[in-house]
């Protein structure tokens, strides 16, 4: 009523009750009214209405409301000794209708069946209890007038400069311009003043779950993780856990993007796995038990046959990236069980299975690469104590001390050792997986090899035999293989060495930093004591290569070709030095050798694995290059 008065004020100043209405009302009450009387009454009614509205508005003002309610109006009426009007107390607006013929307007007033209402079973719930809640709205008078929701609300307490930086960086990284992104990532990697923003970046990164359909965005977010991890001024603290879970998501989840076979989510998983190993090599010490949690979740995925193959692939790649010890402890014991499933997929030649089969080949290839490295490293670890043992030991101790210096305040190695040992057992019991962790004993290398050979057959042999052919990238491999395979004496000598170095192996098993490749570990640790950078680690990789070359000077198989190996070295050695050694060079070197007329059976069988080498790798190197030009 009030609102209508206000709205009409401009034109008519006030709503008016017409003479006719008065007459009608009188008629309905059984009274005949003359025109004069009706007119006078109408005017008086109008005035009284206005008066009541005026006085009702003060009840509204004192109730601190903007809306005049029927209750306000009734109060005004009551205070002027007029009967209040009943039946209009409802909060909902009453529909105001007109009859088509004749200008008649009325308020719809439906009849309500009281019996039905009284016996209704859906009794309305009472209102929630009135309560007082307090929240800090503005700290030290800082706040803005912009509506909430544009940035995470807590960001508002940051200084304006930081806020701007945060907005610019996220915009650049997630935006379209690749050049801008590169600059942003570089800055994120080296800026020393962004510690306060870390939670917000972590928050942004945790958004991976919401963009699982967009490989590009996922990729960018992973790059962001990498930059943060590489920033030497940032202390990640417990945010490592959050970062790791984001990365794990990219590795393990059946991303929405993988539905389309054209999307190259494999590369993303590879990169994420790489990143995972990097995070946990450099920052794994920040969260105790992280290593085993990661292993456990990888194992869970691997042992879950319901999961799609791409998840399995992620798990294998992840294990591989975590080092050969992880492969030995999780993948290898699990392999017999898994193999049966995989074989079933690979042996199905139906058309409908083509896509799944292709995926199966990827998993197959990934496993192959992983176990190969396992064999190599195991061989190396066995041989090292014999010949380069002292140096390795020195290196490892040096590494551990160096690492302690580099990251002050972190948990010292001995503590996680015991804790982790407990952790393994508990995880296993809880996980309930068939993998016999608790009674895990290192399988001797020959047994391991023969078992693997039973799975992979010649393809494994090819790997060993052709591997040394590309002796440029890993000259140690052939000698290892020769140790284990061609000279059974190596097997006999091994027990001695393991028996000799019990502490060392235990140490290697548990402490995450040293669990990777023993060959790499000392040097990486040494390098990381200063700064963990790509160039230093790749350089150290070469250096260690040199070391092992000294250990195993003689290659048993001469390389069949010299041209392609150079190529493979350029890409694999330089670019991928820090990444999964062995696998990438293998693939790249395979392309030229595929043209060679050597068609072993297993070889062609694994063709799909190899087939994916071409394009993605180039793209990968491209994008990689664009990000990190100065190596």
């Amino acid at each position: 009523m009030h609102t209508s008065l206000m709205a009409d004020r401009e034109e008519r100043r006030f709503a008016e009750v017409s003479r006719e209405s008065i007459k009608l009302m009188a008629e309905s009450a059984g009274v005949e009214l003359g025109d004069d009387v009706a007119g006078l009454l109408a005017e008086d009614v109008c005035y009284r209405l206005r008066e009541a509205t005026q006085s009702s508005s003060q009840f509204m003002r004192h109730a601190k409301r903007r809306k005049l309610t029927v209750e306000d109006f009734n109060r005004a009426l009551r205070w002027s000794n007029v009967e209040a009007i009943c039946g209009y107390g409802a909060q909902d607006a009453l529909p105001f209708r007109s009859v088509k013929d004749g200008e008649l307007y009325f308020v719809e007033d439906r009849e309500i069946n009281l019996v039905e209402l009284a016996l209704a079973t859906n009794i309305p719930k009472g209102c929630a209890e009135t309560m007082v809640r307090v929240n800090v709205s503005y700290l030290d008078g800082k706040g803005n007038l912009e509506p909430q929701g544009t940035v995470p609300s807590a960001v508002q307490s940051l200084s304006d400069d930081l806020l701007k930086y945060y907005q610019q960086i996220t915009r650049a990284i997630l935006g379209e311009d690749p050049h801008l992104m590169k600059v942003a990532l570089l800055d994120l990697q080296s800026n020393s003043k962004i510690a306060a923003l870390l939670p917000y970046f972590v928050y942004v990164i945790s958004g991976v779950k919401s963009v699982s359909h967009d490989l590009e965005q996922l990729n960018r977010l992973l790059h962001m993780v990498k930059s943060l991890v590489q920033n030497p001024y940032l202390y990640l603290g417990s945010y490592v856990r959050s970062l790791v879970s984001s990365v794990m998501y990219c590795i393990l989840e059946p991303l929405a993007a993988s539905i389309n076979p054209l999307n190259d989510h494999w590369t993303l998983r590879d990169y994420a796995a790489l990143l995972l190993s990097h995070i946990f090599w450099t920052h794994g010490d920040l969260v105790s038990g992280l290593y085993h949690q990661i292993l456990l979740s990888l194992q869970k995925v691997l042992s879950d046959p319901v999961r799609p193959l791409c998840s399995h692939y992620g798990a294998v790649v992840g294990l591989h990236a975590l080092g050969w010890k992880a492969v030995e402890r999780v993948l290898f014991p699990h392999l017999p069980a898994y193999w049966a499933n995989l074989q079933a997929v690979l042996d199905d030649y139906s058309v409908s299975n083509a896509q799944v089969k292709a995926d199966g080949h990827k998993v197959y290839g990934a496993i192959l690469v992983a176990v190969e490295r396992l064999l190599k490293m195991k061989a190396l670890s066995l041989s090292q104590p014999v010949e380069g043992g002292s140096s390795a030991q020195v290196g490892s101790t040096m590494g551990s001390t160096g690492y302690r210096v580099s990251s002050p305040g972190l948990s010292p190695p001995p503590e996680p050792l015991t804790e982790a040992a407990l952790g393994i057992a508990s995880h296993l019991q809880a996980g309930g997986s068939g993998c016999p962790w608790e009674e895990w004993t290192p399988v001797p290398l020959p047994a391991m090899y023969s078992e693997l050979y039973s799975f992979f057959g010649d393809s494994l042999a090819v790997r060993f035999s052709t591997g040394p052919g590309k002796g440029n990238y890993a000259p140690c491999n052939p000698s290892q293989v020769s140790n284990s395979r061609k000279e059974p004496s190596g097997a006999t000598s091994n027990p001695d060495t393991t028996r000799k170095m019990p502490q060392l192996t235990a140490n290697l098993n548990i402490s995450p930093r040293q669990d990777g490749s023993p060959r790499m570990d000392p040097s990486v640790a040494r390098a990381s004591s200063v700064q963990r950078s790509r160039s230093s680690s790749s350089r150290s990789g070469q250096r260690s290569t040199g070391l092992s070359r000294d250990v195993f000077p003689k290659a048993r198989f001469t390389p069949p070709q010299t041209g392609p190996p150079v190529f493979s070295f350029l890409i694999g050695g330089r670019q991928m030095g820090r990444r999964c050694q062995g696998r990438r060079p293998f693939q790249t070197t395979f392309a030229p050798s595929a043209s060679l007329p050597i068609p072993p059976r297993a070889y062609t069988h694994k063709l799909p694995v190899i087939g994916r080498v071409g394009k993605p790798v180039r793209r990968w190197t491209c994008s990689h290059y664009s990000l990190h030009l100065p190596l």
């Binding site: 004020r9 100043r13 006030f14 005017e43 008086d44 109008c46 005035y47 206005r50 008066e51 005026q54 003060q58 009840f59 003002r61 004192h62 109730a63 601190k64 409301r65 903007r66 209750e71 109060r75 205070w79 002027s80 000794n81 007029v82 209102c127 929630a128 209890e129 009135t130 309560m131 007082v132 809640r133 307090v134 929240n135 800090v136 709205s137 503005y138 700290l139 030290d140 008078g141 800082k142 706040g143 007038l145 909430q148």
Partner: protein
């Protein structure tokens, strides 16, 4: 309750109130006489003010002398009333039908005086109370009308207003040809438009009151169409801030409607006050005399009060700043009384040694530092502020031990207080009332910010504890007998652990609760409601202790004195009342406002109360003698928020017009205007050291203003003497921050003892 604490207080306070009351009643009659004799334009301000109050005073429940006023006047004429009434009705009928000859004849034969119908000839310059016959007629008329009207009259109190209305309205009887009103008005308009610029603004002030009175005269004399035409033609010329009143006015087109219209009553019972320089006034006077324009001259003399001053005419801006209230500006004399705005000396509190040990447990290492500081404070407060009232001017309750403890806590907190300033703004915490479907109407927080209370439209009062400490009731009487009264922790033992809860609901009112206030000692809570009562609740037992009845109409606001014991209330009946918790009748009644009292506040020294009203004025009242010592005009809408600065020197007020005005109490001057809010301001609060003023509004914002800068101005003697302020518009410089809430109107603000700003409001999704 507390009555046994202050037995000696009762007698002096109450008797002085009574004496004052009788004195006032005498002044009422004196005022009427004055009004009759008043020939000059100037009149005695005090008498005038009290005359205006007569209507209100007559409503007082305990005013037996007051009720005698109107019957006393009526009696002599009562006998002849009926005959005369019939004759007058006939006369009126004849006149209405333009049978002027018959009118003459009948009048001659009945022996009625010439002016009985016309009420006044052109020569009569009185207020129309001149002849006894005339007086009797109007009163008789009112008696008659009362018979018919009383059914619709709100209550007896208003019915008693009727004689006054008629006395006032009778002044509107016909004076000249209604057709000429437009000519007169436009003639004056033309004249004022042609005068020198410096006088124009001042003389323009005459327009509005003149317009209203001319319109009312037309309505009163049943020239409905002429009145409408007159309104149409000239209402557009009026200042925009009179819109609300004009709206009421334009709905009023019949003589019958004029009775019982409160706005009209306000306009009539008080003279509209204008401040005009002597030069401008002379100009106007000469013009009107030259033109023989008695019509306007009469209105000016009867209904306006022109406060003439010597000196430069004021500018338009100066005038606009001060005008806008229902009855014009305040007279200069009204703001001349001395106000003791200084603070009372803080009582010296000696800290017993064992107390200190207790504190030491709470805050390690603190007491050693505390001791010298407290001495400093003590010595500082020893110097008596020359502007402070004497310590015993108003009898104040003695401090209890718990009060002393609280003061000590306060001092301790004060040492940790954050110094605020433009570069160091307070943090703001917002208390949102969720699920407040019952309509949150009022909020209050205790001084130590430990309890929050809300008044709701469903008549309930709810109290929450905002600390982890739960609210507990005292055990029942039977259980209390069981406990060991000698034990040290008896205060703890009397509490009933079973009743511990986060909030308590107080039932008792029968209408929306519009005002609530905690007592300073946190033992009591006051609530005022639409049902016309104020209730005192115990926060020990969570029950109602007293219902104070006196306002017979909605009570819009109430507040405890900063020293406890006294409280003030104000409501729809336009009378503010001062109460003591142990008296069921008010100690003082402050009447003078022309419309509802919308908010009431106590001065920090408890010697004054301030009231804001729908008549758009603010009045400061002396608790000692009940006098109105300050009238502040300048707001353009009902005032809904008031706040004294902690040092007692300044006052801030907020209104529905969205502006905050700042006042210097000592000089009685407006010293600032803060523009920024876009809706009604419902809460104002100064930070503990007066550096920051926070304002909360219906527009869902909290704004912070630089109070230090706003008050940092030199008041020269001329301004102080004339009251002509010149404000520069520096709201934007003074605005330090504007903070949005999530669709929650801010209806209460509170600075904690450490200067954290707490805001409260009901969330309206």
């Amino acid at each position: 309750m507390r009555c046994h604490d202050f037995p000696k207080l009762e007698l002096p306070v109450f008797s002085s109130a009574h004496a004052h009351f009788i004195c006032k009643m005498a002044a009422v009659q004196g005022g009427l006489v004055d009004a009759v004799e008043e020939k000059t334009i100037k009149s005695e301000p005090v008498a005038d003010a009290t005359a205006n109050n007569s209507a209100n005073d007559a409503r007082a429940p305990s005013s037996s002398p007051g009720s005698g006023v109107s019957p006393g006047v009526n009696k002599p004429a009562a006998g002849a009333a009926e005959d005369q009434q019939t004759l007058l009705a006939v006369l009126q009928f004849l006149r209405k039908n333009n049978l002027s000859e018959s009118v003459e004849i009948l009048r001659r034969e009945a022996g009625l005086p010439e002016d009985s119908l016309d009420q006044k000839g052109g020569d009569s310059t009185g207020t129309g109370l001149g002849g006894p016959e005339a007086d009797g007629r109007t009163d008789a008329g009112s008696l008659l009308s009362r018979v018919t009207v009383s059914s619709s009259a709100p209550s007896k109190a208003v019915a008693e207003d009727q004689p006054d209305v008629n006395v006032v309205l009778s002044a509107y009887s016909q004076q000249g040809d209604p057709a000429l009103y437009e000519v007169y008005y436009s003639g004056l308009k033309k004249f004022i438009e042609t005068v020198l610029d410096c006088h124009r603004a001042e003389l323009s002030q005459v327009f509005y009151p003149l317009f209203v009175h001319m319109y009312l005269e037309l309505v009163y004399n049943n020239h409905e169409n002429k009145a409408k035409a007159f309104f149409e033609k000239f209402s557009g010329d009026q200042e925009c801030y009179y819109q609300d009143d004009l709206r009421v006015l334009c709905s009023l087109t019949k003589k019958e409607h004029m009775r019982g219209n409160e706005t009209l009553l306000d306009f009539r019972t008080s003279k509209f006050v204008l401040r005009i320089s002597r030069d401008s006034y002379q100009l106007l006077k000469r013009h009107l005399q030259e033109r023989q324009n008695n019509q306007i001259w009469n209105i000016i003399q009867e209904h306006l009060y022109i406060d003439i001053f010597d000196g430069m005419p004021r500018s338009k801006g100066q005038i606009d700043a001060m005008s806008g209230s229902l009855a014009g500006e305040a007279k200069r004399e009204a703001n001349k009384a001395k106000v003791y705005y200084g603070l009372l000396k803080e009582p010296e509190i000696e800290l017993p040694l064992d107390d200190e040990d207790e504190e030491a447990e709470n805050e390690e290492g603190k007491p050693k530092k505390k001791k010298p500081k407290k001495d400093n404070m003590g010595s500082k407060s020893k110097k008596q502020d020359p502007n402070a009232p004497s310590q015993t001017r108003i009898p104040l309750p003695e401090l209890k031990d718990s009060d002393k403890l609280d003061k000590i806590m306060n001092m301790k907190e004060a040492t940790k207080r954050i110094r605020l300033g433009p570069d160091n703004l307070p943090s703001i915490c917002f208390y949102s009332f969720l699920n407040a479907y019952q309509g949150l109407t009022a909020v209050d927080l205790t001084d130590d910010s430990s309890l929050i209370a809300g008044g709701f439209a469903d008549s309930t009062v709810r109290v929450w504890s905002v600390t982890p400490k739960k609210l507990r009731k005292v055990k029942s009487a039977a259980d209390l007998n069981m406990i060991d009264k000698e034990s040290d922790d008896v205060l703890e033992r009397i509490m009933d652990e079973k009743t511990a809860s986060e909030s308590k609901i107080l039932y008792g009112h029968s209408g929306p609760v519009y005002g609530i206030s905690f007592s300073p000692d946190r033992n009591y809570l006051l609530s005022s409601s639409e049902d016309g009562t104020i209730r005192l609740w115990s926060l020990q037992t969570f029950t109602c202790l007293v219902g104070y009845k006196g306002h017979n109409y909605p009570v819009w606001d109430t507040q405890f004195s900063p020293h406890g014991y006294y409280f003030v209330s104000g409501g729809h009946d336009r009378v503010a009342r001062l109460w003591a918790t142990d008296h069921y009748q008010p100690l003082r009644m402050f009447s003078g406002h022309l419309a509802d009292i919308t908010c009431t506040r106590f001065h920090p020294n408890s010697n004054y109360v301030v009231t804001g009203s729908s008549d758009r004025t603010i009045r400061l009242w002396d608790v000692l003698n009940g006098n109105c010592v300050r009238i502040f005009t300048g707001h353009k809408g009902p005032i809904h928020a008031l706040a004294f600065s902690p040092n007692g020197k300044f006052l801030a007020s907020g209104a529905t017009d969205g502006r905050v005005l700042l006042w210097d109490i000592g000089h009685g001057l407006m010293v600032g205007e803060l523009k920024g809010h876009t809706d009604t301001i419902y809460s104002l609060r100064f930070s503990r050291d007066s550096e920051i003023l926070a304002s909360g509004s219906m527009d869902n914002t909290v704004r912070l203003w630089d109070a230090t800068k706003a008050f940092d101005l030199e008041t020269d003697d001329f301004t102080a003497a004339t009251g002509h302020i010149h404000l520069q518009d520096n709201s934007q410089e003074l605005l330090l921050g504007s903070y949005m809430t999530k669709s929650t109107p801010v209806i209460h603000l509170h600075f904690t003892r450490r200067n954290l700003l707490l805001a409260a409001g009901g969330y309206n999704p």
